[in-house]
């Protein structure tokens, strides 16, 4: 029996090496249940690799992972049944319609055909997606693909959401809807592990953030505790990961 008080995510000394480069280097991090957690870092910092390891898509080179109190990958089926994922890369099947895909995902989570169909239809309506189901995912815009992925992540009411850039390409109305749904899920006890480059969104939604840089954890805690003075999250982020080494002052023709 897994105690409900166990953290949602525990990473201990997590490391992933590609060739000679460590994409994630000794990451130790705990995310408590019911938390809206922002996982930040510049491009190539190791955010997506971390999410891939959490989902069992990339085996770690070293370190351990526990999700919802269970060890990964030993209990991967029990863990996956409780997770909703919106990946940055497409895990969608382009030659299915949005409705077909969401229904398919529901059945992967064991909801059965009828329930999956019903929920898929409701989610498609909620996200204002092609309810007629005539359009293939291949014909969707980037924002629509993200909305389909979000609909699929919700269909089984997961305890933990792993969201990799979920708002990328989504219009303001769609993004607002997604944020409202996520906040509602957190209020009901779900945990959200979010990566995003839109720091204003992170600042507004997240209770805690972690910042990784070159695979290493460089800051972690409540946003208020990490900030100094009137600093915004963007100021904090730039201060921690370092600002641009060169400015336009170096380029005479651009001044």
């Amino acid at each position: 029996m897994i105690p409900e008080t166990s953290p949602a995510i525990e990473m201990n000394g997590l490391r992933k090496v590609y060739g000679e480069k460590a994409a994630v280097d000794g990451l130790t991090l705990t995310v408590e249940r019911g938390c809206f957690f922002g996982f930040l870092g510049p491009n190539g910092a190791g955010k997506t690799t971390t999410i891939r390891m959490l989902m069992g898509l990339a085996p770690p080179t070293a370190g351990t992972i526990r999700i919802l109190g269970r060890p990964m990958p030993e209990q991967h089926l029990e863990i996956k049944a409780r997770i909703g994922l919106v990946p940055d890369e497409s895990l969608l099947f382009d030659h299915l319609t949005g409705f077909e895909f969401v229904e398919f995902v529901g059945r992967m989570y064991g909801l059965g055909r009828e329930l999956s169909r019903r929920r898929a239809r409701e989610l498609m309506e909620l996200f204002e997606l092609d309810t007629a189901g005539s359009k293939l995912i291949a014909e969707y815009s980037k924002g629509m693909r993200k909305r389909v992925a979000m609909a699929a992540a919700l269909i089984h009411r997961p305890e933990l959401f792993l969201l990799d850039e979920p708002f990328e390409g989504v219009d303001a109305v769609g993004a607002r809807l997604m944020k409202d749904i996520l906040l509602e899920q957190v209020a009901k006890g779900a945990t959200i592990f979010l990566t995003s480059h839109v720091l204003e969104v992170v600042e507004r939604l997240c209770d805690r953030v972690a910042i990784i840089h070159q695979g290493k954890l460089v800051a972690e805690g409540p946003i208020e505790a990490l900030r100094s003075g009137e600093e915004t999250l963007e100021d904090l982020f730039v201060r921690i990961v370092g600002g641009p080494a060169r400015t336009t002052e170096a380029l005479d023709w651009l001044r």
Partner: protein, 543 residues
């Protein structure tokens, strides 16, 4: 786990819907008609083969011959079954079960589903096997029910193809190895045709008789399973078939498991991590040359095109195939009299060059914006005339084609296949003439029916169904001026006649290209929104 629980049914259903949506449900007009016609012809041929097996096998006189024939059919079926799924996977037509790793589905169930999905990629083989089974059931040499042992053969192939597909998926992800492996597959597929054409019939009969005599003694999967299927129950047949089944199950499961754990990102990352050359290499210098010789924006566009094509595995493969596979399939012209000493054919260079020109069509002519799915937006935004973009693409295509013909000539020289030196300008001239016509039609096709192409996918068709239909119609017409030029030389017995006809062909081709260029630019300007939308669509369910 029940055998077909809801997860399994959902995945099989998704596979069927992908195939339906991809091939039938979404096509309209000429493309749809072409699709259904080609399907009808193809499956008509397969059903004919099955009918032939059902009718001919009961007529086989001796049991030994029956075993040999069934064994040969099963061998062919294995070859077909193991190659086609690889092509299907690369063209994005079968679900990538690795994507299902994020869902709570066990490895064992994924393996079962992968094996079941292999059924959908071997339907032709199953139809032929049904014919073989009917033939065996009606044969006077077998008890009839023994045909059921062919199910073991189906099982063997399903599991073997799971393993081979996974092994190849990992191999194909590695730069360099990918081209070699695909070329190997193509060569293996071409081998039977080469043997049939190049080896004299009496020699082939000798090979077959030797094979037929040895068949019952060879511990091969198709032999042992043919023995069981024909009712030859022996320890050799049972133990052989059992061992092969065990091997296929072990190989399939172990490769599949490795495939699921395998991280493609790791390979890509390692390749990216390779240190860059300190000074630009030969190819870099070569691709930069047009930028120096031609005025911008043409020079910059041609340089960009050469770099893009040179870095596209798909183009590299087709280019490589032009002077390797192209030569192999035309070799029967050289060895028509058997594998003798006289390795010469005066028209081989021309045939291979023309064949290579047609082979390059998909990558260079018919869908010129396929690799440019994101760049095409930039062309409409940048302050450059769209005409310059088309001209640059055409110029690059011609440069690449000339390089290809040069490579064909060099490859023939390396193989010591003799051809007259004056055939070299002829080959360049004829290839260029066909290319001009191809460019004229291809430019229009590229803006009328653009579709995105994955530069890493080595197999997927690059152009729309109706364009493929048009190609079949146009190719013989495009080759007509060359035929006329040869006819003129034959009639007047002078090379001058050949070149004069070819030059008049150039005049027509040049005019056609020019008119087509104007129309292409006009259509592109009018239809830019549709073009960008079509090229922005996704590539495939998995690849």
């Amino acid at each position: 786990m029940t055998l077909l629980d809801d997860q399994v049914r959902a995945i099989l259903g998704a596979q069927l819907r992908v195939l339906h949506n991809r091939f039938a449900g979404r096509r309209m007009g000429a493309g749809r008609v072409f699709y259904w016609l080609s399907m009808a012809v193809w499956y008509g041929m397969v059903c004919f083969l099955a009918w032939l097996a059902a009718v001919a096998l009961p007529e086989v006189r001796s049991k030994d011959s029956l075993v040999a024939i069934v064994s040969a059919i099963l061998m062919g079926a294995t070859g077909y079954w193991q190659i086609i799924p690889v092509m299907m996977a690369a063209s994005g037509l079968s679900l990538d079960l690795k994507r299902l790793l994020v869902y709570p589905v066990s490895f064992r169930k994924l393996f079962l589903m992968e094996a079941l999905l292999r059924v959908s990629t071997g339907t032709e083989v199953l139809i032929v096997l049904a014919g073989v089974a009917a033939g065996l059931a009606r044969s006077p040499h077998t008890p009839g029910w023994t045909a059921a042992f062919l199910l073991l053969f189906v099982l063997f192939n399903l599991m073997l193809s799971v393993g081979i597909r996974d092994l190849l998926t990992r191999l194909l992800a590695r730069r360099g190895v990918r081209e070699l492996v695909v070329l190997g597959i193509v060569l293996v597929a071409a081998l039977p045709q080469l043997l049939v054409v190049a080896v004299p019939p009496e020699q082939m009969r000798g090979f077959y008789q030797k094979y037929a005599a040895w068949t019952p003694r060879l511990p091969l999967p198709w032999t042992t399973m043919a023995l069981l299927g024909t009712g030859e129950f022996s320890l050799f047949a049972f133990s052989g078939a059992g061992a092969w089944l065990f091997f296929a199950a072990w190989f399939g499961y172990s490769q599949f498991r490795r495939g699921l754990r395998w991280d493609a990102a790791e390979i890509r990352s390692k390749e990216r991590a390779r240190p860059a050359a300190v000074s630009p290499g030969f190819f870099e210098r070569l691709s930069g040359l047009p930028g120096r010789l031609l005025p911008d924006p043409l020079g910059a566009l041609v340089s960009k095109e050469i770099r893009t094509l040179g870095r596209s595995p798909r183009f590299r493969l087709v280019f490589f195939m032009g002077f390797t596979f192209g030569i192999i399939i035309w070799l029967p012209l050289v060895f028509r009299g058997g594998w003798g000493e006289d390795r010469s054919n005066e028209n081989l260079l021309l045939w291979v060059s023309l064949y290579a020109t047609l082979l390059l069509g998909e990558a260079l002519f018919w869908n010129a914006f396929g690799f440019d799915r994101s760049a095409v937006q930039a062309y409409f935004v940048m302050p450059i005339p769209f005409r310059a973009v088309i001209v640059a693409k055409n110029l690059t295509a011609i440069l690449m084609l000339m390089a290809e013909v040069g490579m064909v000539a060099a490859a023939l020289a390396v193989l010591r296949i003799r051809f007259p030196l004056q055939k070299i300008p002829e080959a360049f001239g004829c290839a260029l003439l066909v290319a001009l016509f191809l460019l004229a039609i291809g430019n229009l096709a590229s803006v009328q029916s653009p579709r995105p192409m994955d530069p890493s996918s080595s197999w997927r068709q690059a152009s729309a169904g109706k364009i493929q239909g048009l190609m079949l119609l146009f190719y013989p017409l495009l080759l007509a001026p060359i035929g006329l030029a040869h006819l003129a030389r034959y009639a007047f017995d002078r090379d001058l006649a050949f070149w004069l006809v070819l030059l008049s062909g150039y005049a027509v081709a040049g005019m056609t290209w020019h008119v087509s260029l104007d129309s292409t630019v006009e259509i592109a300007e009018k239809e830019k929104e549709r073009m960008v939308a079509a090229l922005s669509a996704g590539q495939g369910p998995i690849s």
